[in-house]
Each structure stands twice: as structure tokens, then as C-alpha cells.
Amino acid sequence: MSLLAEMNQKALDLGLPISVHLDVTYRCNERCVHCYLDHDDHGEMTTAEIIDVLEQLADAGVFFLSLSGGEVLMRRDFFEIVERARQLLFNVKVKTNGVMIGEKEAARLRQLGVEQVQISVYSHRPEVHDAITKLPGSLKRTIRAIRFLKSQGLKVTLANVLMTGNFSDQPGVIALAKELGVAYTLDPTITPKMDGDRSILALRIPGSELKQVFRNQELVGNVEEFCAPPPAPDEDVMDEFPCSAGHTACYISPYGDVFPCVQFPLPSGNVRQQKFLDIWNHSPQLNEVRSIHARDLPTCSTCSHVGTCTRCPGLAYMEGNMRGPSTADCEKSFQRTGIPSANMLARSRAVSAGPLIQIQPLANPLQNQLLAGDDSLLTA
């Protein structure tokens, strides 16, 4: 176990929040087609309120602090916030689109001791990237920002959200990251909007493309190992928690609302009304999240993927049940290993037990077999 993993385990044992993601604003200068946020300002925390929250987080033992948005630099007081965060000795990671970062801003981030900057890039081609951000010239400005940050010696990670409109550009983005000398990370997850609107899920890449991603050695390392069938789950697996959300990590919105995670919109308190530690220690919602072990998941506990699935309880919550499956993660497990999840099998049985006469659109043979509940080919 690495030293960081040991510290995470220790925080879990002690019930301490080691990581917090704080969105300082939802305002943004880009209008990305896949974004889940409403970009109007509904009453963001003031500078003083945010600094008070930072002091509370430091007292609570938080070590990793991600500052994100919206676009963080839409706040005129952003550097004041970072400065105080660094005085309080947080490990600070900044997520930005980079459009407003010039030489001066890059130097300031370096001077303040920000550990890492993550920048969203959707394509190496301006016509694709700018069509996603809906901000003409954004790719050019983002790349310029990356160069400034690199010249300051800052650690930069290029974050590539994959969707239908940019999937084929992924090798180009990897090449761009190499050329710029920065790390690359991809995320194929598109989440519903915070208001529950699920229309943007249509941008999710289809399973066949997900499968290609999982078989790219450059991205996953040892493909055979990464795509191996899951080992039989043991008792330890059934006692595990789904992820760090609410256990050692949480999310705070620009309005002070506390959630288990940015991707888990279960309102758990507000730092404008309560002290952070009161929320962390006593929120019924967070305590409910913490009470859920793998064995408590009605469908997933019966699934062969239970020990290896990346099941997101937040996505499950957005599907209606935080103890239920997250179908996006079922799809990932299936595309990775070729073995359908318990949820997929249950749904296919429900379909096959439907009306006697059905009319379905023509699908590919594998899909037809899955719908019919015969998974022999898929598990071969």
C-alpha cells in the first residue's frame, strides 16, 4: 500500500475529511455542450465566507483541496482565495479552462505553491474544441495558458472529456499532451444536469467506442489485466464502501451547499447555516451514505463485478436510488470485460418476460442476444 493510500485508510478509520472539492463559482466564460451546471450566479459565497470555510476545513483536517467551477478565474478574488488556502497549507489543485491565464496569472499560481493545474481540452482541432466550448478561439488561448504554466514549472494535467463529438480526436489530444509535456487524463462520463435534465446524456459515447478506450494500451497499461474477468468477490469485498464520497471526501458548492461529491447531488447541509464539522459529523444524509456497504446494494451485491466495478453512488442516486446500480458503470464493466452486469441481466430478463409480441428496431447480433437474456457469446 502506498503512503498516500495508507493516509486515506487512516482518514477513513478516523472518519476525517481528507479531500474537499470546492467550486468557487458556477459562472463560466465557456458554454460547453456537456456541462451539467447552470452558469447564473444565485448568490455565491463572498470572499470572507469562503475564507471562513477554508479555515474550518483546515481545522477539520482537510489536506487536499480542489478549487474548481465554473471557471475559477471568473472570480476577481480568486488569487486571494488561493493565497489564503496556501497559507493554511492545503495541497491545492486548480481546475480551469485556462482561457484567462496569461503569463502573470501562471507566475502567480506558481508563486502561491499550487501543486497542480488541470485544464480541460476536448480536441487538438480548434473547430472541434471551440464547437464544444462555444467560445471561438478558446483552444488557442487554452494551449497558450498551458505553455505559460509549464514555463513556470507547474504540473499540468490535460483533462479530456470524451463524448460523441470528439471521440475520434482522442489520439490527437494525447499527442498534443505529449507535445506540451503535460499529463493526460480522460473521462468518458457525462452526468445529468444538476437540475435533473438528462438530455445531455445523449452525448455519451456508445459502448463500442468505450470498448476501444479500454483496449488502448497507452491509456490502460496492461490490457489483458485491465480487461480480465472479475475475480470471485470475497467477504472483505462485501464489507467495502463504494467510494470516498462522504467517507473521506465531500463537495461544497459556491452557495455553501455540502454534498457527498460533485457527482452526488444529495443535499447534506450548508456552511452558511452550520459549521462544516457539524455537517460532516452529524448530517443524516452523509451518515446514510456512510452506512452503505457493498453487501447492502440489492442488485450490485449479486453482481460478479461487485469487487472491481467503478460504480458511482452519485450516478446511481441520479438514477433514483443511491443503493441501486449506476447503468453507466454497468456499461463500463461490460465493455471492459465482456461480462454483463447483474443489472443488465435483470433488465434483459424483464424485457424477455414482456409482452408476447414485440416490435424492436434491428440491433446488432450481440445486442439482440443480450436483450434475449442469452449471454453465452458475451461471456465466452
Binding site: L3, L4, E6, M7, K10, A11, D13, L14, L16, I18, E55, A58, D59, G61, V62, F63, R84, R86, Q87, L88, L89, F90, N91, V92, G113, V114, E115, Q116, G153, K155
Partner: protein
């Protein structure tokens, strides 16, 4: 032998977790955890107090350890952390080098 003065770098993140100090360099992301003795030296690294005084006045007092042995351990600790830029070391006092408003 010349006195050593030590100060915590500003380019670090640090926090106490269950009696251990977590320290990470913002320069190269090196991560350390410090035990109680190392945490004591860390907290006393104000740039003004000589290391020998920290060892005699803090480490030996608080942990009932032989001064020579404690000094050797402290020298090794300071050497390792200074290589990662986490501790600054000088043969003269370091003014205004430690973070001013920490709450580790």
C-alpha cells in the same frame, strides 16, 4: 561545527492526521509522513532556533532520548527533507521563511 538553522518551505502542504504530520512538496509532489519526533522538529523549524537547540530543548525533553542519538536522527531527517526542498537549511538564521498562518 557550524550551527544549522532550519525553516519550513512555503512550497509545501501539511496537515496533522491522527498524530502524524503529512507533508507534500508542491514542487515535486514528494509525500512524507512524519512521526511524533519528526513532527516536533518540524513544528520547531522556525528558521531562528538552531537545530541543536531544538534537539536538546524539544526532542530530548519530550521523548527521553540520548542527545547524541537524537542529533544524528535529526541530521538525517533534515538532510532528507532538505533534498526535496521541504525544509530549508542554512548556517545562519532564516528570516521570514516559514509559512505564517498554518493550521496543521
Amino acid at each position: 561545527m557550524a550551527e544549522k538553522y532550519i525553516a519550513r518551505s512555503k512550497a509545501i502542504a501539511a496537515r496533522m492526521l491522527g498524530g502524524e504530520m503529512m507533508v507534500m512538496s508542491a514542487v515535486d509532489s514528494t509525500f512524507f509522513t512524519l512521526n511524533e519526533v519528526a513532527s516536533t522538529i518540524w513544528r520547531a523549524a522556525d528558521g531562528r532556533t538552531p537545530l541543536s537547540e531544538i534537539v536538546a530543548g524539544k526532542v530530548c525533553q519530550e521523548f527521553d532520548v540520548d542527545q547524541e542519538q537524537a542529533q544524528r536522527g535529526a541530521d538525517r531527517f533534515v538532510n532528507e527533507l532538505s533534498q526535496h526542498g521541504i525544509l530549508l537549511v542554512s548556517d545562519h538564521p532564516l528570516i521570514d521563511s516559514s509559512p505564517s498562518a498554518e493550521r496543521p
